[in-house]
C-alpha cells in the first residue's frame, strides 16, 4: 500500500501567524498593481477548478503545502475560541501536496462514481485582501461561494473563507504554501466534498 500520510501535517505546516516584524511593510495592504495580479491569480485558480483541470490547479501550490479545512463547532460564548478545530484534530481536509495529488489521481481512474458524470461547479471568489507578510510573502484572505449542480437537480452551496500564505516567486509569480479553509457550516449540507476550494 502507498498510504498518503507519510508526512505528518505539522512538518508541512508553515506558520501563518509568524509575521516578520522586522519587515516594515508587514501587515500593510499591497499596492494596486500587485493587488490586481493577486486577484487575477485567484480568478485563474477558480477557472482551473471549474474546468476540472485539477492537475494544473495543483501547480499553484508549493512543495511544502499545508492545505487544511478545520471543523467548525457551536460553542458557549465563553469558549468561542474553540469553535474552530485545532491542527491535529478531525478536519474536512488535512492535506499535503502529495495527498492532494493522490486525491486527484482518483478522478483520473475513470471509476470515481461520485463525480461520474461530473458535477458542474462555479467557484465565485471575492473579498480578496492581500497584505505583506515578509519581503517575498503575502497573506491573502478571500471568500468563496461554490455552487455545485449534480445530475438533474442536486444542488449544493459551499460558503467559506480562505487564508493563504502566498510566496512571490523569482519570476514574479505566486505559489501558495499554506491554505486554511473555513467552511461556514457546522453540519455540512452536502453529501460529500468532491471538489476543491
Amino acid at each position: 500500500m502507498a498510504p498518503p500520510n507519510n508526512t505528518a501535517p505539522a512538518d508541512a505546516a508553515g506558520s501563518a501567524e509568524a509575521v516578520d516584524t522586522s519587515f516594515e511593510q508587514s501587515g500593510e495592504l499591497v499596492d494596486a498593481e500587485l493587488a490586481y495580479r493577486v486577484q487575477q491569480f485567484y480568478f485563474l485558480e477558480a477557472e482551473l477548478l471549474d474546468d476540472g483541470r485539477y492537475a494544473d490547479w495543483l501547480d499553484i501550490f508549493d512543495d511544502d503545502l499545508f492545505y487544511w479545512a478545520p471543523l467548525r463547532t457551536n460553542r458557549l460564548r465563553r469558549q468561542a475560541a474553540l469553535s474552530i478545530g485545532a491542527e491535529g484534530e478531525a478536519a474536512y481536509f488535512d492535506e499535503t501536496r502529495d495527498s492532494l495529488a493522490w486525491r486527484i489521481r482518483r478522478y483520473d481512474s475513470g471509476m470515481a462514481w461520485a463525480e461520474d458524470p461530473p458535477s458542474r461547479t462555479r467557484h465565485l471568489i471575492s473579498n480578496i485582501t492581500a497584505r505583506w507578510k515578509s519581503q517575498n510573502e503575502l497573506l491573502v484572505r478571500s471568500a468563496f461561494l461554490v455552487y455545485r449542480n449534480r445530475l438533474q437537480t442536486e444542488t449544493d452551496l459551499y460558503s467559506g473563507g480562505r487564508t493563504d500564505q502566498v510566496r512571490i516567486t523569482d519570476d514574479g509569480g505566486f505559489r501558495i504554501s499554506r491554505r486554511e479553509i473555513l467552511f461556514d457550516a457546522n453540519v455540512l449540507q452536502a453529501k460529500n466534498l468532491s471538489t476543491f476550494f
Binding site: 507519510n6 501535517p9 452536502a190
Partner: protein, 458 residues
C-alpha cells in the same frame, strides 16, 4: 413516550394525570421483509408512517451510541447529540458519572443546550431562565413566587436517559428503563468489536472533533451496508482501491477474490472481514507500529487474521465502525429520506503521537465527507433514495439473496457466520428490524390498558 414520564430518574416523578391517546397506528411490517428468501420492500425506506414507527419501536427502544468516554474528562464536560430525532445532552456530573438527558427545557421545551460540546456548571434555558445542574435537577426558576404552592422543583428536573452503559469506551444509552444489559445485547458481537476496541490494554480514545454531514438516503441504507456489504467494495470503491494499491492499478485478482467471513447476530448486528493476509488497507505507520505477536497473544490468531485485517460492522440499529480506518459513526435519522452522519476518529491510547496522526489522516482521507471511499458510498445511497418514491420503483422488492442458506457455525469465529461476500447479516438486520417493528416497545406496554393496546395495534 409514556404519558407520565415515569421512565425517568427520581428527579422526574409523574406530573398530574396527563395521558396520551394513541396518536399513530402501527403497521404490520411482516410482509415487507422476507428475511428467509432475501427480499426487502422499498417502502421501508420511504414511508412516513413506517418511519414514525421506527422512532417509537427502534430508536426509543434500543441501545444507541452516544459518545466516547474520552470526551468527558472533568465534571461539567458535555456533548450534545441525538437518539433518533430526540436531542440528547450527555454530561459528566460532579461525581464524575456520565449521564444523559433529553436536551429540552422542562418548562416550555426549548433546546436547553445549544453548544455542540464544552464545559459548564449549569445549563440555563435562554427562554425564561430555568437552570439545571449537572445532575439534571432544576436549581433555579426566576419569579418562582408566582407559581402555585404545590410547585416543586424536584418534579421538574431534566428527563434522564434511564439506561446508560459503557462498552470499552463506547457510551450507549437506551430510553428503556428495563433495557437488557448492553453486554447481553451485544453478545458475540463483542468478540468482533474487540478487534478494534481492545488492541491496546490502555483502550481507545477519540481525536478532537466530530465530522458531521447530511445526505439524502434512509438511515438503514448505510447501517445495513456496514453490517453486510463487502460485495460493493470492488465496484463502488474501484477508484480508491486503485490509488491505494502499490501498483496504482487496483488490487490483484487474488485479493479481490479474498476469502473471509461475515458474522450475523440474531439481534441485528453484523460484521464482515477478509481473512486473506494481503487484503488489508491500513495506514503504513499504523501497520508498522503494531506488534503483531503481542496482538496474537492478546486477541488470538483468528481474530488478528480476520476481524483485525480490515472490514466493516454495524451494531444494531445505527452505530457502525471500520476497524482499520479508526472510524466510528452514527447514522442519525432525519426523516425517511435523509440521514446525518456523525463520524469520530478512534485511536489507541498508547499510540505515539505520530502514529495517532497517521491514523487520523488515513481516516479523514478515506472516510469522512472528503474521504475517497466515503464519497462513493454517499453517491450510492442518495441515488437509491432519489428514485425510491416512484410508485412502480417503490413496489419492486430489493434483492438480499447472496449467500442464502450459507449461515452456519464455522468452528472458528463465534456465533453464526456466512461468507465474506454475502447478504446474510443484512437479512438478519432486517429480520430483527421487522420483529421489533411488530413488537410493542416498553413505553407501549407500561401504564396502558388492554383497550388502548387493541386500539393502537388495529
Amino acid at each position: 413516550m409514556s404519558s407520565d414520564s415515569s421512565n425517568t430518574s427520581p428527579a422526574n416523578q409523574a406530573i398530574g394525570t396527563m395521558r396520551r391517546p394513541p396518536l399513530s397506528r402501527n403497521i404490520d411490517v411482516s410482509t415487507l421483509v422476507d428475511a428467509d428468501k432475501g427480499l426487502i420492500d422499498r417502502s421501508i425506506y420511504t414511508n412516513e408512517e413506517i418511519y414514525g414507527q421506527e422512532m417509537r419501536r427502534i430508536f426509543a427502544r434500543n441501545w444507541l451510541f452516544l459518545a466516547h468516554t474520552s470526551q468527558f474528562q472533568k465534571p461539567g464536560d458535555f456533548f450534545t447529540t441525538f437518539m433518533g430525532e430526540d436531542p440528547v445532552l450527555v454530561a459528566m456530573d460532579k461525581q464524575k458519572n456520565i449521564r444523559a438527558y433529553l436536551n429540552s427545557c422542562r418548562h416550555r421545551g426549548v433546546r436547553l443546550c445549544r453548544a455542540d460540546e464544552g464545559r459548564t456548571k449549569m445549563f440555563t434555558c435562554t427562554y425564561h431562565g430555568w437552570s439545571f445542574d449537572l445532575a439534571g435537577a432544576l436549581q433555579s426558576v426566576p419569579n418562582q413566587d408566582a407559581y402555585p404552592e404545590d410547585f416543586q422543583k424536584e418534579n421538574w428536573g431534566l428527563i434522564e436517559v434511564p439506561s446508560l452503559a459503557v462498552y470499552k469506551g463506547l457510551i450507549f444509552g437506551s430510553w428503556d428503563p428495563d433495557a437488557e444489559p448492553l453486554e447481553e445485547t451485544l453478545g458475540d458481537m463483542r468478540y468482533y468489536m474487540d478487534a478494534m476496541l481492545d488492541r491496546d490494554p490502555e483502550g481507545t480514545e477519540v481525536v478532537g472533533g466530530v465530522m458531521k454531514w447530511q445526505l439524502e438516503g434512509n438511515w438503514k441504507l448505510a447501517a445495513e451496508q456496514f453490517a453486510t456489504d463487502w460485495y460493493h467494495v470492488n465496484m463502488s470503491h474501484a477508484s480508491a482501491l486503485m490509488v491505494l494499491s502499490p501498483t496504482g492499478k487496483g488490487p490483484k485478482p487474488e485479493v479481490v477474490a479474498t476469502p473471509g467471513r461475515q458474522y450475523l447476530s440474531p439481534k441485528g448486528h453484523g460484521a464482515g472481514f477478509p481473512t486473506h493476509p494481503k487484503s488489508r488497507f491500513d495506514a503504513a505507520p499504523v501497520h508498522e507500529y503494531y506488534d503483531y505477536d503481542a496482538l496474537r497473544e492478546r486477541l488470538g490468531d483468528e481474530r488478528v487474521e480476520g476481524p483485525l485485517t480490515t472490514g466493516h460492522a454495524t451494531v444494531f440499529p445505527s452505530f457502525s465502525y471500520l476497524p482499520v480506518n479508526g472510524s466510528i459513526r452514527v447514522w442519525h435519522p432525519k426523516g425517511p429520506d435523509k440521514m446525518e452522519v456523525w463520524a469520530w476518529i478512534l485511536v489507541d491510547k498508547s499510540m505515539p503521537q505520530e502514529v495517532k496522526d497517521a491514523q487520523r489522516l488515513y481516516n479523514l482521507r478515506t472516510f469522512g465527507p472528503s474521504g475517497i471511499f466515503e464519497a462513493d458510498d454517499g453517491e450510492n445511497w442518495s441515488e437509491v433514495q432519489a428514485i425510491s418514491h416512484g410508485f412502480v420503483t417503490n413496489s419492486v422488492p430489493l434483492n438480499f439473496q447472496m449467500g442464502v442458506g450459507s449461515e452456519r457455525e464455522d468452528g472458528v469465529y463465534p456465533g453464526t457466520t456466512s461468507e465474506l461476500y454475502s447478504d446474510a447479516a443484512g437479512r438478519s438486520f432486517y429480520r430483527h428490524w421487522a420483529t421489533q417493528m411488530n413488537t410493542p416497545a416498553w413505553h407501549e406496554t407500561q401504564h396502558k390498558t388492554a383497550e388502548d393496546q387493541a386500539e393502537s395495534d388495529q
